[in-house]
Amino acid sequence: MSCAFSARSRRYLALWLPYLQADRVRRQERGLPARDNKAKSKVQSPAPLVFVEKVKSALRLVAVDGQARGLGLNPGLTLADARARVPKLRVLEADPAADARFLERIADFCDRYTPLVTIETTGIVILDITGCDHLFPDGEVGLYTDIIGRLDRMDIGACAAIADTPDGARALACFGRHQTAPRISKSGRQARAVSDLPPAALGIPSETVISLFRAGLKTIGDVAKQPRAALAARFGGDLVARLARTLGEEDIRISPRRPLPIVMAEQIFAEPITSADYALVILGELASRASHILEERGEGGRCFEATFHRSDGRVQWLAVQTGHPLRDPRALMRLFRERLDALADPLDPGFGFDLMRLSVLTSEPLTLAQSSLDARTVADDEMIALVDRLNARFGARDVTRFVPVDTHNPERAERMVAAIASNKSPAGLQPKANTNKTKGQPSPSWLPSGQEALPRPIHLFEPPQPIKTTAEVPDGPPFQFTWRKANHRIVRAEGPERIAAEWWRSTDDKPPRDYYRIEDDSGRRFWVFREGLFGEADQPPRWFLHGLFP
């Protein structure tokens, strides 16, 4: 089926996720492979979970799970206070970025109900469900039950409410009293539904809430009874505007987070489809349905987007853009297949797709137009293109490059990362950026900053090659050494450069090494080291050849 959007009295569903952070972590941990026993035991552990953030040098709770809330631990409490009350707490650092991503995923999931979805900063998702309820047997009740049920199966706790305005729905979702019946205020009856809620449900600053309370206005109904002019004079126009919107007297529409499609075709499956190939067949059908509509409009699409809703709530997108307007379904499907082949992860139906949608996001009148080929040939772009191609063919694991690691230890001075990974240094290797004490070390370079470079061979033996030497005691360079049965007489030498083991690694209890740069009588240059010092251990120190200088 397909639908166009018309203007009529609107209906909104607000979704509040009280334990967003905890739900995110629990889902993540369940997703871990089973062999990780430690993580598994954590999942089962009954310790209440709280999230903390440093606020003015004190760690404070910013989010909690249901169990912690039940124990009276609320956001805002300091961690020390919380621990004093409940010593066995599981404490995680708040990760607002991850929370935001998780909320995005939930909003993605909500796309199945309506393309008009928005996310509020406070962790609330609002859906404009005008005209969407007829898809459910019980209308809005059915939609409400469906969304709560699906989220529940995804182990996401949610409170929802449906009302005439976004503000009204939000107020009911967050502050409505717990009832078995769905929190749905019938069209036009919103003012009554919200009148029992506390003024805080208006989304006003706490200072105003207190002031209203002091004036004896303890519910939205109490506030609504006051003359609006008197309220505006005392609490500002904002309160009056919010009151009107919450009461349903005035509607401000939501601005959807994703562009509204111009043309849309979708298919719901009673039985989720588990074959990716079959999904493509369906996509082909949707493409021809969309192309009919485009044809009627005399347009062609420039940007197409296929949406695959999985029954477990995950959503996958596949977008193609074209250089010129297009509406031929076969050509479109060819583009989609190419796009699919280029994907690192193939289309994964998991437990099956239960809804698929094809949207046309931008369109133009279908006329002949000159295709403008971009002719940029920047070396970087070519390199990136090469990496992309190699990557596509061999996989990210097999195409790697070196990055420097900041360490004294020559063996550890570099490491391999996937070539496709960003050019930035791996996390955790840089000094704290905000420490002004640290003199600018933007990223570890191959040379130590502010010091003269110590010569290092291009090639290192892994492992170092044992050699036989004679050398001056205690720390003189070798006179000669034997390697692979060949004897080398040393004519020039410099050293020692003493590098001690990295004591913080449990495996590194080796003695320090003394490195020497040496040159033999035929001009070949070597990098050798003596492991250990004379007279310190029972055994005499051993010598190794570690690298060759060009």
Partner: protein, 1092 residues
Amino acid sequence: MHTYAELATTSNFSFLRGASHAADLVGQALELGHAGIGIADRNTVAGVVRAYAAVEKGKEAYQKLHGPTATLPFKLAVGARLVLADGTPDILAYPEDRAGWGRLCRLLTEGKLRAGKGECLLHLDDLLGHAQGLLLVLMPRRSLDGLDALLPRLQEAAPGALWLAAAMHHRGDDRRRLAGLKSLAEHHGVPLLAVNDVLYHHPSQRPLQDVMTCIREGVTVTSAGRLLEANAERHLKTPQEMARLFRDAPEAVAETLHFLDRISFSLDQLRYEYPDEPVPPGRTAQDWLEELTWRRANLIYTKGIPDKVQRSLKDELALIGRLDYARYFLTIHDIVRHADDQGILCQGRGSAANSAVCFALGITSVDPDQHELLFSRFISAERKEPPDIDVDFEHERREEVIQWVYERYGRHRAGIAATVISYRPRSAIREVGKALGLTEDVTARLADTVWGSWGTELADTQVREAGLDPDNPTIRRAVDLAGQLMGFPRHLSQHVGGFVLTRGRLDELVPIGNAAMDDRTFIEWDKDDIDTLGLMKVDVLALGMLTCLRKGLSLLREHCGIEHNLASVPSEDPAVYEMLQKSDSIGVFQVESRAQINMLPRLKPKEFYDLVIQVAIVRPGPIQGDMVHPYLRRRSCVEEVTYPSPAPPHDPDELRHVLKRTLGVPLFQEQAMKIAMVAAEFTPEEANGLRRAMATFRHLGNMHLYEDKMIEGMVRRGYDRDFAQRCFDQIKGFGEYGFPESHASAFARLVYISAWIKCHHPTIFACALLNSQPMGFYAPAQIVRDAREHGVTVYPADINTSQWDNTLERDETGALALRLGLRQIDGFRENWANTLCTQRVGGYDSIETLWQRTGLPKQALKLLADADALRSIGLDRRTALWAVRRLPDAEPLPLFVAAAQAAELGPEPAADLAPMQLSEHVVADYQTTRLSLKAHPMAFLRDHFRREGVKSAAEVAALRDGAFAKMAGVVLVRQRPGKGNAIFMTLEDETGITNAVIWARRFERFRRAVMGSRLVLVEGRVQKSPEGVIHLMAFGVYDRSSELERLSEAHSARLVLSPADHIKHPLYPRHATQKRDHPRNVRVLPKSRDFH
């Protein structure tokens, strides 16, 4: 035979760089047979006194071994490593002579005064101007660029006193680099000096040094990379090894001795001289002190100086003359006199303060005619300690005294001593854990577990208790390294009030730097360093009770016409002791805590000396030494007074003299010391060492040396081992909070005076106490409540009658009544109050006049309305707030436009506001002023609780011992004293106070209720002691804070959700957009005072 001296040594006073104590460095240098050592920390000389003390100790040990005339062949050079802000390589500066030291100190002072606290901002030009008398060592960086230009400049500034340092750090190119430095040195004619640029005394300190680097740079050890040293070579090396490393330049090693020879300065050349100001020209100090003392004594004792006092004065003055302490007393007198002139109350305490001379000079108010003196017992010719007088001033006005001292002596001659802030167990484990990459969560748990159990190996079980794996090498390593880091200095802070005053320039004695506080400057040495060098310190401390007493005494003068000062308040008034015996001591100095209140009816103080004991007995020392109960038993004559005695041939009565005043039970710090000297035959030096160890017990663990010596010494002489052990445990307890008798007796006087005012003038006492807040143990609500229980009429704050401070007025019967001040309103500002009062002439009759006349911001008016302070113009809180909120936000216009403005605020339709109920008012009172005169919140819940069989505090108090009771009240204080076996909760309802005790084993079960409640229900058994102390021994504690919400719910039908509902249906965080909750929203009742 090789000889060498390391001249580039960094101690741990180069914070987070040097990884060894100065004493360890000196010890290691002695061990290795060095000819000397040069200590130069980064822009500071803070650590050199410790090195000096270590060398002195080494000398003593050497003389013990080789005879008293032998001199240790070891020389200490002290200096600083100048780290310049302009990118010049570091330069070591060692003073050649005393004048050079003075210049170095002034150079550092200049750099420090220019920068913020703990920083030093120096440029090369500063050094070039100050270089006379300094020997300079240039420490080249890795790159030698720029030295060619720098060397001639330095040479010009310090001709013949410049060296170029060379170090061999095993960096691969050492010999090439040495050759480069050598030719550079030859080219410029500057001698080359062999150094090792030492960071620690032994290579085993490398991990610690690496960790310190990480802490400094804010990185973890795995990511620090080349910020760390590549190897462990920066330690003190043997002369042989140095000679071998420098075989290409042997002259550089020999130069270290030449360098050392050039230095003739040593810290013992720093002579302390008292400032001249207090002695008039032409008089000697002693002669002036005597004249002053007798003159003032004659003024005090108008009927003639009593014989006893005369004798004391003569003896004391003779002793002071013998020890040459006269100028010390005069200096203190100088400061005290100034305070007196300014009307600032002060009181001296400490061993020297407890003297007739100090009474005569007005330094203390303990009358020697009526009380025993301690002076000659603690100041004696043998003990070469500087006299000890701490002077407490009113806390609100101490800054005036401090600034006056700076002004009188000049900032170049007066400075506050430093306090070295060291790594404590918690900070050490936190920082080390972070550097090793442990999460905050793990380190916090480790820190909690190991708290208090340091010095011993951290047992695996303890680590396991914290839920961590003891076999985890990182955790093990973190604990070990934290142990090493503990006791390391972290930063310098200013001492609470110890001034060093000198006759000459102080900044040529020691560098002076800025403190974090404005207008404060402090020196680099702490009080131990000052002791070591024999400098004198005067303690200028702050005491809240003195502020309260001064306010009380002036109110007394103003309203009752009674004139008193600290010394003239009538002594030994039986009514005062009677009041204290009844535990009626809220607000009284020192004896108002729960534990003290419980002790009062047991001790039943009858005279001044009982108060001295009362102050000292509820302290960790006597409690840990288990001395409290024996004393109480003897006092109530249940137990016979006996004196432990040694076996013959020793004097069996030797302890009788020490312990007579305290019935044979040692209670004071001095007694414990005296026991060590008498019973365990400690020498005065050893006793002094024990006292020092006691003071620093938490930092250094050398107490066990004294423990063996004292206990074995006492047992050897025939004392009971158990008694000896208890004496020592008590000394350990003093280490936590030492409390000497000399301090106790000074405090006891303040106890008496505050009790006297409370007893005879409760209104004045409450008023003075409220005006001195924050101080003491109780919140305004309890102070007001206590005053009302003593029959004081208290009026609420009001715009037409209140000042900023709480004031006194006459009620209708003509008695004094307390009017709350505007300062009790949270968030209200003093300047608002002043405007309000100055514009009040004729009174305010409406909000409009108030607003127009005062021009106060709307916020101020809102606070007044919210505090219900507009009743005198006929507006209650709700109506007033509704009206105030309507005022425009902007400042009111000048008067002539105001009329027009007022017209604009024309009539509006009347609002339909429900009247505010009394319970709501009470809650709002608590939210705005932290107290309510209208009612107690529990009064509204009484019926509700009555149905559950809950009794009131008064009813509980009337129950018999052992009865079962339920009591509910607001939580005032939670305490977990001593070892934490019991938790005390003080609960309040409308009838009074109940003290609940929860044993630690039950605590865990009710932890949440105990820690989280504002309103709590406790069930338990009543326990009554023979003295009438009542406790409710709890076996159940339940959080009923949610009941408080009822008070402000207009519609009582709406029930508060039960916690179970919160799980199913959480409440939306009221203001998720705001980071911090508004405190007034969160708090229905003020937060109680808690332990953590």
